[in-house]
């Protein structure tokens, strides 16, 4: 029976301009979105490769210099030129290492918040500065957002589904073939189910075939666990919209009314509900502007500066065996203090940061609780998360940088404090993030 239904559906659809329109347009959109996605990843990987190469070069050069000095026993005039000095290796100039949030398997599919939040930063002994590579982007471009696969899937594909499904039964009624259908020994529900199932498989097929083809062309690897999950999510999301079509078709309304109702549902799920959800979360838990936070940071800086010597004396008392007494070089005396102050500033900043983080986290949590009400939002969030471009992951950069800074400091600071310089073969042990 199904075979017959599918065959007739195909003969029917073959004649429809809308269907051929979809066949023409949808693969192009998917292709363009994946093209932009693959470019984004390529750009990211290029940045990472360049920075890693320059890091390697820097430390290799230092090692060679040091080796040369060790071999001919020469000395260096200025302390900041000495490649054995922990400050030179861990703090100044190009010293330090970059911490990256690596692209994930599905990164090409969703740009997420990558245009707003940085994905890497440089760590030195005192600094964990996220690098805003995109600081020069045109804010106007950020307003409208990226044309990524997530956009095509979440926003546009439902519209194609609606075009394919809004008049499955109503058109039969309007074309006068409805009576003919009801005279068949098959229930109306089965016919509706069969027709929609066929169209569902057709749409899904177009999407999957074009995704696979473009992914192969642009070198995007979808043959992994996340790719499998993606298949399930895409199928389920499209099924959701076909289900809505089925429900609307069961009512005995005309095609135009069906189109209105389905378009209304689209507007409801994609525009209305999300805007109400975000309005609710941001009104219940407003996040203050960073303007105050900036002045707060400066206040902390001033506070620590004014407490200067006092803080250092306290540190001396707490760490009696961790520094060198007596006649020490000037740079040592200055930087020994600076590290104590930097640590204090960082601690106090974290405290102040919490005042801003908490409302933001409450806002995010509330939005996350309301989000399941809108399947499109759920799918969008899922895709961003799998792409690793969601705000939570990008914000985790701070933590990762702090964690790595800890390792960095553990490696260099004890040596600096005891004024123990490095030997060239020790430079191989300089820590790297994520290894």
């Amino acid at each position: 029976m199904m075979r017959h239904l599918f065959l007739f559906e195909w003969l029917h659809i073959r004649k429809s301009g809308a269907f051929w329109g979809i066949v023409g347009v949808l693969p192009l959109m998917i292709g363009f979105s994946l093209f932009l996605g693959s470019q984004r990843i390529a750009h990211q990987e290029e940045t990472m490769a360049q920075l890693r190469a320059s890091e390697r070069e820097f430390y290799e050069a230092k090692r060679q210099e040091l080796k040369a000095i060790e071999q001919d026993g020469s000395s260096v005039d200025m302390w900041w030129q000495n490649p054995a000095n922990p400050l030179v290796l861990g703090q100044f100039g190009q010293a330090g290492k970059h911490v990256f949030l690596e692209p994930k398997p599905l990164s090409a599919l969703a740009a997420g918040q990558l245009d707003i939040l940085p994905f890497y930063g440089r760590v030195t002994l005192t600094g964990t500065e996220p690098l805003r590579d995109n600081a020069l982007e045109n804010p106007f471009m950020q307003v409208s957002g990226s044309f990524d696969f997530a956009f095509v899937l979440v926003w546009l594909i439902p519209l194609f589904v609606i075009v394919m499904g809004y008049n499955v039964i109503s058109s039969e009624r309007e074309g006068g073939t409805f009576a003919l259908l009801t005279s068949q020994p098959v229930s109306m529900k089965r016919i509706l189910a069969g027709k929609l199932l066929f169209r569902y498989l057709l749409v899904l097929g177009i999407i999957l075939v074009s995704m696979t083809a473009w992914a192969l062309l642009f070198g995007i690897d979808l043959l992994n666990r996340d790719g499998g999950l993606l298949l399930i999510v895409v199928s389920a999301y499209i099924a959701f919209w076909f289900l809505l079509c089925a429900l609307v078709n069961m009512a005995k309304t005309g095609s135009a009314v069906n189109a209105v109702i389905l378009a209304g549902l689209w507007v409801f799920f994609l525009l209305l509900l999300p805007s109400i959800i975000t309005l609710t979360s941001s009104t219940v838990h407003p996040v203050p502007s960073r303007a105050l936070w900036i002045t707060e940071q400066r206040a902390i800086q001033q506070e620590v500066e004014s407490e200067g010597e006092e803080l250092f004396d306290l540190w001396i008392v707490d760490h009696p065996k961790e520094f060198v007494e007596g006649d020490t070089p000037q740079f040592y005396n200055i930087w020994l203090r600076r590290f104590v102050w930097a640590e204090t500033v960082q601690e106090r900043k974290q405290e102040a940061e919490r005042l801003f983080e908490e409302p933001r986290m409450r806002q995010t949590a509330l939005a996350a609780r309301l989000r399941p009400l809108s399947p499109p939002m759920t799918v969008q969030t899922w895709l961003e998360r799998k792409a690793g471009t969601d705000a939570d992951r990008l914000r985790s950069l701070d933590e990762e940088m702090h964690a790595f800074q800890q390792k960095w400091q553990d490696f260099f600071l004890p040596r600096f404090r005891m004024l123990e310089f490095f030997a060239s073969d020790e430079l191989k042990e300089i820590p790297s993030p994520g290894h």
Binding site: T47, A256, T278, T295, Q302
Partner: protein, 472 residues
């Protein structure tokens, strides 16, 4: 006479239509609540930025005794102005940085946009009047008007009207006026709430103008949608076709073309990343005076020229502090370099925006949105006006500091020169003066004229649909 009764009839039909009424009321409700929450947020933001401004100034004034050039490195901040009009049209405000660090030797980028801290679902949809007008209102017009003519045809009413001697033109004109009246009925509450809000918050005349112009832009945009809706309804055979066609146009205009255009614009005119930019600046800075390095080639040349001009051999014999002069000279040089490189970035942005403006030939939505941002003063042009004023202040402040060093750090006071804390309270302070003119750049006229062009084209299209010969 006939036209007005058709129009009256159309209004009545729409008001009796439960779906249309319900959606109309929903839109009014959404507008009202978006304004209400927007105002609360605006108030908070305004208070925060004022407080931050005062704190920053206090921190500057209380930095204590120090060398003026240390103060230049210490720097101060300017904060993005908050305007009440942004409640209606936030424009790019959420995506531009809220603070600008003003220090010696360099121009910084505005940092910390509101979008960075917001929950990400905000990008999905943000309930502001501009959002409602861009997306929801046109849908409402389409819904109210898609079967204005096809419906009459399908019910047989059209034949009846024709037999009464009523022309196609009269039917369509009446329908159009009717739809217009309904649109105005729903827009009116927004106008009233908006004007009331403006009158209660700021007395600035410019803001009222901005609001009025913004409302005009939106009305023009609704006019475009209404004209196309009635025109399509008059030209096609069935309500279903009319609906599908109009919805497709809406999707193209408000969803597809804007995203495509921005992504193509940024692919065609890519912006260099920050590190490349800073590297380029650094390279150019090497070719000039470094205020901190008196031994660089350029600094020495400058020193020689100053010494020669004053007929002395040693900078100690100069009647002023040479370092102060050199810092100022360096500052001006650095400013030229930064201006040049930031100007290049600006030119790229403008090319992107220009491309985007022109893409409104395919999308009246883009034309309207860009125009509304322009007249609201929340577009990039307005933001650049702010950063330019802050930069003007920065350079003036630096001059003040350097001149103090130049004139007063002389003779015995030269070594270890400092100013006492009270000095900083007397330095110039920054308050951003918003421009009194509504439009600042010629480029802003492009989207506005394109909006008008769209209105004109849609009217011509409607006229064409009304005049076409037909068989009934």
């Amino acid at each position: 006479m006939v036209i007005s009764s058709i129009a009256r009839n159309e209004v009545q039909r729409l008001i009796r239509d439960k779906v249309v009424t319900a959606l109309g009321l929903l839109i009014i409700l959404l507008i009202a609540s978006s304004i209400a929450t927007g105002v609360i947020y605006f108030r908070e933001l305004e208070a925060q930025h004022q407080q931050a401004e005062q704190l920053a100034r206090a921190q500057w004034e209380n930095q204590g005794e120090k060398n003026p050039h240390s103060a230049a490195h210490y720097g101060t901040f300017a904060f993005q102005p908050v305007t009440v009009v942004s409640v209606f049209e936030p424009g790019v405000n959420r995506y531009t940085g809220v603070s600008l660090f003003l220090e010696g030797h360099r121009q910084n980028f505005a940092a910390h946009s509101l979008a960075e801290d917001k929950d990400t679902s905000r990008r999905f949809a943000e309930l502001t009047p501009a959002f409602i007008f861009t997306y929801l209102f046109p849908l409402f017009i389409i819904l109210a008007g898609y079967r204005s003519v096809t419906g009459e045809r399908e019910s047989g009413m059209y034949r009846f009207l024709k037999s009464q001697g009523i022309g196609r033109f009269q039917v369509i004109a009446g329908k159009t006026i009717g739809l217009w009246v309904v649109v105005l009925l729903i827009f009116l509450p927004f106008l009233l709430i908006g004007l009331a809000l403006l009158l209660f918050t700021t007395p600035s005349g410019t803001d009222v103008w901005r609001f009025v112009l913004m409302a005009t832009i939106w009305l023009l945009y609704f006019g475009v949608v209404a004209n196309i809706t009635i025109g399509v309804s008059a030209l096609v055979n069935s309500s279903g076709t009319s609906m599908v066609l109009l919805l497709s146009l809406w999707i193209l205009s408000s969803l597809l073309v804007p995203r495509l255009a921005t992504n193509i614009a940024s692919t065609l005119h890519p912006v260099p990343n920050t590190s490349e930019f800073l590297q380029a600046v650094q390279n150019d800075l090497m070719h000039g005076i470094d205020g901190h390095n008196p031994f660089s080639e350029h600094s020495l040349a400058f020193q020689d020229s100053v010494l020669a001009a004053h007929g002395v051999d040693d900078i100690a014999d100069l009647p002023f502090n040479f370092r102060g002069l050199m810092l100022q000279e360096g500052e001006e040089f650095e400013k030229r370099i930064f201006d040049y490189h930031l100007g290049k970035i600006d030119a790229i942005h403008q090319r992107q925006n220009h491309f985007f403006s022109l893409s409104s030939l395919f999308s009246p939505t883009i034309a309207a949105r860009l125009s509304s941002m322009s007249v609201a003063g929340t577009d990039m042009v307005a933001f650049r006006h702010f950063t330019a004023s802050a930069e003007e202040f920065r350079i003036a402040l630096m001059r003040e500091l350097n001149m103090d060093l130049k004139m007063n750090a002389v003779g015995e006071r030269a070594a270890g020169y400092t100013v006492d804390g009270s000095f900083f309270a007397q330095t110039i302070s920054f308050t951003y003066e918003r421009p009194e003119k509504v439009l600042l750049a010629r480029s802003q006229l492009i989207p506005i004229s394109l909006t008008m062009l769209w209105f004109l084209l849609s009217a011509i299209f409607l006229g064409f649909a009304a005049r076409i010969q037909e068989e009934v």
